[in-house]
């Protein structure tokens, strides 16, 4: 792998940037791998990278039905934060946050991680109580957080309507200064390039259509290009995970819903942080290109068509204009949907399954981008050892039978 550097950029400029190395190979599948990852989104690619880099498992394939990072990884609004309420989730997301903080160096790829601060606005007394509780819990877990009053919010976000005239006046906010955004595509590409350099086979345009079992245990996957053997198989297919579980012969407590986002035409810098509101239900940031990046809520019904419903777009823009009346005339450029796999407690499932040698990492729903490095890391550790990583243990499937749910609806409600 050619390392990227400032000097490299200079050197390649002499040959008009025509001689850059390809970022990864296009290998033909081997007959058998130590680990097969199904799903080449950020989580799958990160899993493959950490397997090869940290756990010495290099005979690994990532099998992707479309193109790398073309699922929710490419469709999300890229908010990264770790201010979750409960210990189990806070520790998992904070594990990811620590990896984010060194990720560009680690991957030798600029993932444009920008810790510009994430605000969660409060509009009611109950919101403010929840914010105080969550920030206190965060601080006890060693995660940064501040509670701001309305005046402080007004000073930090000048264009936000903090007047008393709005329908739901802003009463305050929580602020996690280490939170922010990253470039979604770069995360997928950076992990893919680094994993490929360590020998991982990235197999695109190949759909897994079944699991082959021997004595009840998985021994590989059936694909539209034939059988590929795998000693362990990790499924990381986001919105399609319920369907994959069905193919493997068991049920997961997942429901797949469309979730939409939209971006505006590029405008001058106006929003330099990430602002989210559960109450009016909208969230917004601005990309370096100048587009406003706006996230909606999920459609109420189950769906696999990667598009969303019109009323949802309308409600979202109503919320944004309520928060930022100054944006009422900005035109939207593009709108799209991704399929998110929601769980009853808004927490992921990172677990062994009833089928030996088959592991699932799913249920990230509306908010898994921020967890990409941490999710990949703990899942890689679990696949390498055949035992769940300590940070993953609480995210078992059994919790839906023994009642040990990790209810993050409060912290994760809108929140992505």
């Amino acid at each position: 792998m050619q390392r990227y550097s400032g000097f490299g950029l200079l050197k390649h400029s002499f040959s008009h940037h025509e001689n850059w190395q390809r970022m990864w190979r296009t290998p033909t599948p081997k007959p058998v791998y130590d680990v097969i990852i199904v799903g080449g989104g950020g989580h799958g690619l990160a899993t493959a990278y950490y397997l090869a880099k940290e756990f010495g498992v290099r005979n690994v394939a990532v099998i992707e039905k479309g193109w790398l990072g073309g699922g929710n990884t490419a469709r999300n609004t890229t908010i990264v934060r770790s201010n979750y309420l409960w210990d189990e989730s806070a520790q998992l997301y904070e594990h990811a946050m620590k990896l984010w903080e060194g990720l560009s160096q680690d991957l030798n790829y600029n993932v444009m991680f920008s810790q510009r601060g994430v605000f969660n606005l409060g509009h009611t007394l109950q919101d403010m109580r929840d914010i105080e509780r969550r920030v206190s819990a965060n601080r006890l877990n060693g995660i940064d957080g501040e509670v701001l009053n309305a005046k402080q919010v007004e000073e930090l976000i000048p264009y936000l309507d903090c007047s008393k005239n709005t329908r739901y006046p802003v009463m305050g906010a929580s602020l996690q200064r280490r939170g922010g955004v990253a470039r979604h595509d770069a995360v997928a590409w950076g992990y893919a390039r680094a994993a490929d350099a360590l020998g991982v086979d990235l197999i695109q345009q190949t759909e897994v259509i079944g699991f082959r079992k021997e004595n009840g245990a998985v021994i590989g996957v059936e694909t539209n290009r034939g059988f590929i053997g795998g000693k362990r198989v990790g499924v990381v297919t986001a919105g399609n995970s319920g369907h994959m579980a069905k193919l493997a012969g068991f049920r997961l407590p997942l429901e797949s819903h469309p979730l939409q986002a939209l971006v505006s035409e590029p405008i001058k810098p106006i929003i330099d942080s990430v602002i989210m509101s559960n109450q009016v239900h909208g969230y917004i940031s601005q990309s370096d290109k100048g587009d406003l990046v706006i996230g909606a809520g999920i459609d109420g019904y189950n769906g696999y068509g990667q598009r969303g419903s019109y009323p949802t777009i309308e409600h979202t823009l109503q919320a944004i204009v309520e928060m930022f009346p100054v944006l009422s005339r900005v035109r939207m450029n593009r709108q799209w949907g991704g399929i998110v796999d929601t769980t009853p407690d808004a927490c992921p499932i990172i677990a062994k399954t009833p089928v030996p040698n088959l592991f699932f990492n799913c249920g990230w729903g509306t908010g898994g981008f921020k967890a990409t490095p941490g999710s990949g890391h703990v899942f890689a550790a679990s696949l390498a050892k055949g035992e769940m990583h300590p940070l993953a243990k609480a995210f078992s499937i059994e919790r839906f039978h023994n009642g040990a749910l990790i209810d993050e609806h409060g912290a994760a409600g809108v929140a992505h």
Partner: protein
């Protein structure tokens, strides 16, 4: 925008008047105290999540405020039928498969 036929109102109305309430036809355990943790967890949390036909419960929230059932395709979002609580769906995976087989038999 979906247009949904409310079987109570007898009218096609726009999606915004309705709320989806998840999978239909889930029987409540007759004796909850006799359920194992497994059965109770399945009842509370495990839902069908098909890529294809789905029978689901909807409410005409901003209309007659009554519940009814919908058979909908979760990829095309086509609504194949709506029917009242207590009624059985007319369109199912099995009925669609049977129809297909007949059609293929005729054309083959």
């Amino acid at each position: 925008m979906l247009h949904i036929f409310c079987p109570h109102c007898g009218e096609l109305r726009s999606e915004e008047e309705f709320h989806a309430k998840g999978q239909a036809h889930i029987p409540r355990p007759l004796d909850p105290n006799a359920c194992t943790d497994e059965e109770w967890g399945n009842y509370l949390f495990f839902r069908d999540n098909p890529r294809g036909l789905h029978h689901e419960l909807w409410i005409h929230a901003a209309g007659c405020r009554q519940y009814f059932n919908v058979t909908r395709h979760t990829v095309t979002y086509e609504i194949l039928e709506t029917y009242k609580i207590g009624e059985k769906p007319g369109v199912t995976e099995a009925s669609v498969a049977a129809k297909k087989a007949v059609a293929q038999g005729v054309t083959a």
